[in-house]
């Protein structure tokens, strides 16, 4: 079962928009902490939504490496392929 990278990007962006509860423009270059003002716990919480939707677990060290939405899409895609 292969989930395309574009589907994963859609999932990430949908979940993030819901979590933020305000209109934002998001791209691969958006910095999750700096541009969106999420703290470390808020980031881990919104990653949980993505984990649910894609049935994966993202280890905390992998979350810590993520800076941009593009990074997160890449990490999640990799884990999904490995799963």
């Amino acid at each position: 079962m292969d989930t395309a990278v574009s589907d994963i990007r859609d999932t990430v962006i949908t979940v993030l928009k819901t979590a933020l509860q305000k209109p934002v423009t998001l791209s691969d270059e958006t910095n999750i902490v700096r541009d969106l003002g999420l703290d470390s716990v808020a980031v881990m919480d919104f990653v949980m939504e993505i984990e649910d939707r894609l049935d994966i677990s993202v280890p905390l060290d992998r979350i810590a490496e993520v800076e941009t939405i593009g990074d997160l899409v890449a990490t999640v895609s990799q884990l999904k392929r490995g799963a």
Partner: protein, 413 residues
């Protein structure tokens, strides 16, 4: 200096609190008068934010034992137990804790933080997996990060999510170690331990329970949540602290697992730090004895916890989901919390302010911790003061018109 630029946002928040003249993150008491009272700026304040659950910090027997130990063994050990030797008191306290928990092994640490740092980072090796409750204390996160295991978190108090996490790890090599807490320190809720034990057994995982806030509080003899839920046999490691119910400082881990003692020469936060000073060890040993022989302390604590929790609920506050010695009143935002906190202090009541990311679900709370040593009068006075400040600030009117109260209750529960 540029090296501190990365803290700019934090600095701005801190400076804003500091500029008000009363910063909850920078407060110093001139004198401690009793387990429940201190002097602040020359005025007595009621201590309602000290985790002094059994009020044993001023117990006469504890003080006498501690003073005698300082007279006989000196002020400090000046070194680690591995490099510089243990004192008799360290070994005796380990034996007493093992006996209290009915377990074969006990290791003590210089702080509760280090107990989690040491056990989690050492127990879980490179190929192992740590599965943490999302609302875990910072020491659990830090201990996980210090080691080399893969770390994932599951939704707070959610056995189904824990199940999913273990299922996703099925077939992967290494031990799976689940970490939960007895009572969570921010909202005072407890773990659904029996359900967690079922999941743990189904997947053949190991289970660590941190009883920092539940030791001396829950269970027939005060051993904590595992005792209260009747699942001690299914908990592989219990971690605890001396700095809450026992009124000292330090931490411990007990276990029945053969081979446990090898951790003494593998666990860096145990090996490379000075051991607890004799006065602390002696006081802790005595307070454990008091905890065991005076169940009435626990009963008084729970009575006070229920009275205070129910009092705040009846006054209209949104609190955590269940009564416990940790009672948190949810505030609409950090600014309101700061004003509320200062007004309480002006009325002579000291509580804690807790805000994200230390709290779950983005909540800002005024966190109180109740003690067995509080009198009925003190508890009533505290409830009345909370209610009066809320009234002065028009807090509930604001929260209800904004429709926020229901959201906050959902978030807290």
């Amino acid at each position: 200096m540029p090296i501190f630029d990365k803290f700019d946002t934090l600095r701005q928040t801190y400076d804003r609190f500091e500029s008000t003249g009363a910063n909850p993150f920078n407060i110093a008491f001139e004198k401690i008068l009793s387990p429940t009272e201190a002097l602040l700026h020359g005025k007595p304040v009621l201590l309602l934010g000290t985790n002094n659950y059994l009020g044993l910090t001023w117990d006469e027997a504890c003080i006498a034992r501690s003073a005698a130990a300082v007279q006989s063994f000196g002020t400090g050990t000046t070194g680690s137990r591995i490099a510089n030797g243990s004192y008799d008191g360290h070994r005796a306290l380990e034996a007493e804790l093992a006996d209290f928990y009915g377990r074969k092994h006990c290791m003590i640490f210089s702080t509760g933080y280090q107990a989690n740092l040491g056990i989690l980072s050492t127990l879980a090796g490179k190929t192992d997996h740590l599965i943490l409750d999302a609302d875990s204390h910072a020491s659990i996160y830090d201990g996980s990060r210090l080691g080399h295991a893969q770390v994932v978190r599951f939704r707070h108090n959610d056995p189904d999510d824990l199940y999913k996490r273990l299922r996703r790890l099925d077939g992967q090599p290494g031990d799976k170690i689940i970490v939960v807490e007895g009572i969570y320190s921010m909202l005072g809720d407890h773990a659904p331990l029996r359900e967690f034990v079922q999941v743990k057994n189904e997947w053949g995982a190991l289970l660590i329970v941190d009883e920092a806030h539940s030791m001396g509080v829950l269970g027939e003899t005060g051993r904590g949540l595992a005792e209260a839920e009747g699942v001690e046999g299914d908990v592989d490691f219990i971690i605890g602290t001396f700095s809450k119910s026992l009124g000292g400082v330090g931490g411990f881990c007990v276990s029945d697992m053969d081979g446990f003692d090898i951790l003494r020469v593998a666990c860096r936060p145990y090996m490379f730090t000075a051991s607890s000073p004799p006065g602390v060890i002696a006081a802790t040993s005595e307070s454990l004895k008091q905890l065991r022989k005076r169940p009435e302390l626990r009963h008084a604590l729970l009575h006070n916890a229920h009275t205070f929790y129910n009092g705040l609920r009846e006054a209209g506050f949104c609190t955590g989901p269940e009564p416990s010695p940790v009672v948190s009143a949810v505030m609409p935002d950090p600014e309101t919390a700061m004003v509320f906190w200062r007004q309480l202090l002006a009325r002579g009541i000291y509580v804690n302010v807790s805000m994200p990311p230390a709290t779950p679900n983005g909540l800002t709370v005024l966190r109180s911790s109740v003690s067995a040593a509080h009198s009925d009068l003190q508890i009533r006075h505290a409830v009345n003061s909370f209610a009066a400040v809320a009234q002065d600030m028009g807090l509930f009117a604001h929260m209800q018109t904004a429709g926020e109260n229901a959201d906050l209750i959902r978030a807290a529960e």
